[in-house]
């Protein structure tokens, strides 16, 4: 028992030292602050319930985003540090290990929710919010946090790395949400459903029973499943059995291209031609699925879906590229090999950018082929394009910079920064320009480009200092 408590305490202490936790708190706080400013534009009664809805939305979003990454490392971080064996040797059972570490993450999540209590009090003060609604909301969030922690821990048990666990957890969470939207029985377990009921004026219960109970029961199920599978997956050594398998996998020897870094990044970081095939299959599969679902689609609709899916694919791939770009070299300690080849920093960066663009080639090609034949370059489109590109550059620059500081959530922080900057620019534009699209576009593009450039330069300096350290 003491061992388990010590483990729980250690997990809490380690988590409390992580800067990302505080950044998440700060981000959620700032976001709520901005929402609070916009609240002034509502002239209706029931401002309290609107603010409570915003708090609930921000809480859910931060719990899901930080949880998918943070909770997915519960066991994988021990695997990556090779400390599982040591922990088990100290007399901690797999069940206790999973429970203690997951509950430490739950505590972290609850602190995140509780940190927004001042906004809740404000919502109550503004009127229209009853105490039972606040209690019901917090019970919903607590049960969902517990569910998410054990759900992610399950993936952390079966996967080798945190990245894989987070991706799998994210994909399945997305599929479950889709299912919840279509199947009523599953829908009642989802916090969205609970929100709909609780955040209505006149809600009188203290608990949204079906969501809370189901979330706790499913948490228990994932806990038991993780415990059962622990010895099969978590204790598996990365040993000799692998060698036999791998020698088969490399029968066809890949030869490096002259542009060696492009080859290496494209093949080994971004999945190479296999990733091209997967991208095409996903895009075309989604289009086919939509086509079957909506038989009345014409060619323009078809093209529209293609453009939409390719944009999503490009966004995901570019985000992955910015997040991986240089940080992976530092994380894998391979940077010194690359940076002492007879190439300048600029040449190395150039090759890495080519590799990223090569990864996106199929989705970019689909996007270009679908959009250009019908592109109407009127004044509005002409000015919106540079503005959109500047936002993309800002987001990618920020992701690149933050990826050198934090491990997995760089793109989330970058997304948050981009959102805040766009909000500030929105306020500035609204008070400065009289709906002149050209002026707005030039102003926003310039400011965004300047900030993106600052992020990139700060990132380059960080790379240089990391090389020297």
């Amino acid at each position: 028992m003491n061992n388990n408590l010590a483990l729980f305490k250690r997990a809490i202490l380690v988590d409390s030292r992580q800067l990302t936790n505080y950044l998440t708190w700060l981000a959620a706080g700032i976001l709520l602050f901005f929402f609070l400013i916009t609240l002034g534009s509502f002239n209706t009664s029931g401002l309290g319930i609107k603010l409570l809805s915003m708090v609930a939305g921000v809480n859910l979003a931060t719990i899901v985003l930080s949880g998918l990454v943070g909770f997915s490392s519960t066991i994988t971080e021990e695997k990556e540090e090779s400390t599982i064996g040591l922990l088990l040797m100290s007399g901690i059972s797999p069940a206790a290990l999973i429970f203690s570490k997951s509950m430490a993450r739950v505590t972290r999540g609850l602190f995140l929710i509780l940190s927004q209590l001042p906004f809740v009090f404000l919502a109550v003060t503004l009127g229209g919010v009853a105490l039972n609604q606040v209690i019901a909301l917090y019970l919903t969030l607590t049960s969902f946090t517990i569910f998410l922690a054990f759900y992610c821990t399950f993936f952390s048990v079966i996967c080798k790395t945190t990245t894989r666990a987070a991706i799998l957890a994210g994909v399945f969470a997305y599929l479950l949400t889709l299912l919840a939207m279509n199947v009523d029985f599953i829908g009642r377990m989802h916090p969205f459903h609970a929100y709909e009921a609780i955040l209505n004026t006149g809600y009188s219960d203290y608990i949204f029973i079906s969501q809370v109970v189901s979330n706790l029961v499913i948490s228990l199920f994932f806990f038991m499943l993780s415990t059962c599978l622990f010895s099969k997956f978590a204790l598996k050594e990365d040993g000799t059995s692998k060698t036999k398998k791998t020698s088969k996998a490399v029968i066809i020897r890949k030869r490096s291209w002259g542009a060696a870094i492009v080859w290496k990044d494209f093949k080994f970081y971004y999945g190479g031609y296999k990733m091209w095939a997967i991208t095409l299959i996903i895009i075309l599969g989604f289009v086919t699925f939509t086509f079957i679902d909506n038989s009345g689609m014409d060619f323009d609709d078809f093209r529209g879906v293609l453009v939409g899916t390719s944009v999503v694919a490009i966004a995901i791939q570019l985000t992955f590229f910015a997040q991986t770009f240089i940080s992976k070299e530092f994380r894998d300690l391979t940077h010194s090999g690359i940076f002492i080849t007879p190439k300048t920093l600029g040449e190395i960066f150039k090759e890495k950018i080519y590799a990223g663009l090569l990864m996106c080639l199929p989705s970019i090609a689909i996007f270009v082929l679908c959009i250009f034949p019908e592109l109407d370059l009127n004044e509005e489109v002409f000015f919106i394009i540079p503005m959109a590109i500047s936002y993309i550059a800002l987001f990618l620059g920020a992701t690149f910079f933050f990826s050198l500081k934090v491990k997995l959530i760089a793109f989330i922080i970058a997304g948050f920064c981009t959102t805040i900057i766009s909000m500030i620019l929105g306020f500035l534009v609204a008070s400065t320009f009289n709906s002149s699209i050209s002026g707005i576009s030039i102003f926003i593009s310039l400011i965004n480009s300047l900030i993106a450039f600052t992020f990139i330069m700060a990132g380059i300096n960080k790379v240089k200092s990391k090389l020297e350290a």
Binding site: V250, S256, P342
Partner: protein
Amino acid sequence: MTDTATTQTYALEITGLSHSFKSHQALNNVNFNVPAKSIHGFVGPNGAGKTTTLKAIATLLKPQKGTVKVFGSNVVSHYKEVRTKIGFMPDHFSMYRQMSVFEYLDFFAAAYGLNLAERDQVIGDVLSLTDMEGRKDDLIKGLSRGMQQRVSLARVLVHDPDLLLLDEPASGLDPRARIELMEILQELRNMGKTIFISSHILSELADLCDSVTILDRGQVKYTGDMKGLLTHNSDESEVTYQLSITETPEGFVDTLQSIEGVSTVEKIENINEKFKIAFNSELCSRNKILAKALELDVDVVEFKEDLKHLNEAFMNLTEAGVREK
């Protein structure tokens, strides 16, 4: 462009090298040279500044003060040229674990600008040298630490550098892998390569190195050949010899002790009757001591200079305690 005329015999010249990280002075006026085609040990306790020096040589760190030249080329102004001449193996494994051994070497050979034919040739050569031919299609992540170390060394050699910079290459290796690595390094020296090898264990390098530099708290404490280090003493006139005899006659110690200039005569081993004799070389000579011993009709088995133990020399040169910022 390069002042090769004056520096041809040195593979590496470090002059007045200083570097600090914020308030922490990592290197303070470091000066030493490494002769070409030799194995040079670079020894110091943890935190002495070895890795910082290596990074400066490897062009990864721009020195704040002083100059570093590799075969006459300045590492700051001619870094591209220097990079073609050096092969740097860091203390951590800089490896793409998802590649096969062949792909890994092929990648680095291509990164150094070698064409396909050259790559085939050089990869075959380095695999043969490191005895990894049979594992070339294995994934790196499936190899043992010793084998990964060999692949890492092979990678360093793909562009045929003249100077190899090895940072703690033997750390974490079992005794067999360690000996095999040292054999490969000796072979490389015979091939004309200059090897600059860093370690925090001096005795590990004793049999391998021609010369050594000892660094402590960012300062060079000794640089020169190995023998010089072993005899290095603050009082240069004080010499110690070891005398082994088969049987000790009565009054032997007192007789030797009575010679002018002899400070101590100590028995150090029971078997073979071994004695340690310290004397002032200005007042006495080894011949005088030997003659006196023979006068006593002893059977001399061995009479040789007592080289101080490596660890003792290292401890004398370096300071105890944790380095302060």
